[in-house]
């Protein structure tokens, strides 16, 4: 995993683009279906579900593919921001 680096003004510098965003020039642009999938994934983690289950649910409900690395990156950021779920 390559840690995301973002400038003070929000411009992308380097690292993995977070799930829920895509790179447009040097800006991170929201991908609504992926952001909805993020919320679903967090809720399911809170319910004790594992990655395989969560990946299947977001594929079914949001029509997006969330890789294990993307899932891990999301959960790491969520844990850092908000503490234990």
């Amino acid at each position: 995993m390559n840690e995301l680096q973002v400038a003070e003004d929000g411009r992308y510098i380097s690292g993995d683009v977070p799930f829920g965003y895509t790179l447009w020039g040097d800006n991170l642009v929201e991908v609504p279906a992926e952001l909805d999938a993020c919320v679903t994934a967090i809720r399911l983690v809170k319910q004790g579900k594992d990655y395989a289950h969560i990946a299947a649910v977001v594929r079914e409900e949001h029509r997006v593919t969330m890789s294990k690395a993307q899932f891990d990156g999301l959960m790491l950021s969520v844990y850092r921001r908000y503490g234990p779920i």
């Binding site: 929000g10 908000y82 234990p84």
Partner: protein, 257 residues
């Protein structure tokens, strides 16, 4: 009502008659989230609920830290002509209540500290840094949606989820980050020994933000504090307002009028 306070315009609700209760909301909340408590208490108390600077319908022209928030509270009570009040501090409201009590103990009838802490020892520096980074590219709405997904219980009604997201979106990013820094990094332990009034410390059993151990710390540090653990998460006011109200109202009604 709008109160001109320390360079800000503070939005404040005042309802009812009787001894004053001041409700200090959690991070991302505002006075509206106290409506169930105000409805249950306004027939016998004066219920006062300000929006902290930068939250709800209050302005944010300066900066936020706990001593400033305590000064805002003092000025709000002065402006409203309230000499003494029960102070109810929810999460971020807890440190404000502790610092206010230490500086102006003659203004405090009792304290209620809800899902809060004297020192937050859950990777605080990392939480501050990650929040600062995310706020550079995330909208407030997405930050709020992900936060709410981590904090409300699976059983919490959908309407409450949407309300909390909308509430957080009223806050400015600058104010939100000031609070994250202002409450997660300092240690408020020294203020606990200054508490000489009846104190209720309550917490949700499923609270992962400020877990029960933080409440145990407060109970140990505040002489004579009463502890109540209820069947909610960090935001019990959304998870189950009825369960949330029981210990709060019981405690307040047991105080001398």
């Amino acid at each position: 009502m709008q109160l001109p306070i320390n360079g800000e315009t503070i939005h404040c609700i005042r309802e009812g008659e009787g001894p004053a209760i001041v409700f200090l909301h959690f991070l991302g909340g505002f006075s509206y989230q106290w409506r169930y408590q105000i409805a249950a208490l306004k027939d016998r108390y004066t219920c006062i609920a300000p929006d902290h600077r930068g939250f709800g319908f209050s302005t944010f022209n300066g900066r936020w830290d706990v001593p400033t928030a305590a000064k805002d509270l003092k000025a709000e009570l002065d402006a409203l002509g309230v000499k003494k009040a029960h102070i109810v501090g929810y999460s971020m409201g807890g440190p404000i209540a502790l610092v206010f009590n230490a500086q102006w103990p003659e203004r405090v009838r009792s304290l209620v500290l809800i899902d809060t802490f004297a020192k937050n020892h859950t990777h605080s520096q990392a939480r501050v840094e990650e929040s600062e980074k995310c706020f550079r590219y995330m909208s407030m709405r997405e930050y709020a949606r992900q936060y709410v997904a981590t904090r409300l219980l699976p059983s919490t009604p959908k309407g409450a989820v949407d309300e909390l997201v909308a509430s957080i979106c009223l806050a400015s990013k600058e104010a939100y980050l000031d609070v994250v820094r202002g409450i997660l990094l300092p240690d408020f332990t020294e203020y606990c020994s200054k508490v000489k009034v009846p104190t209720l410390v309550m917490c949700g059993r499923h609270d992962k933000t400020t877990p029960v151990e933080f409440t145990n710390d407060l109970t140990r540090l505040i002489k004579g504090a009463v502890e109540r653990v209820i069947a909610t998460g960090h935001l019990g006011v959304f998870d189950d307002p009825v369960e949330f109200n029981k210990p709060l109202i019981e405690f307040l009604d047991a105080q001398p009028r």
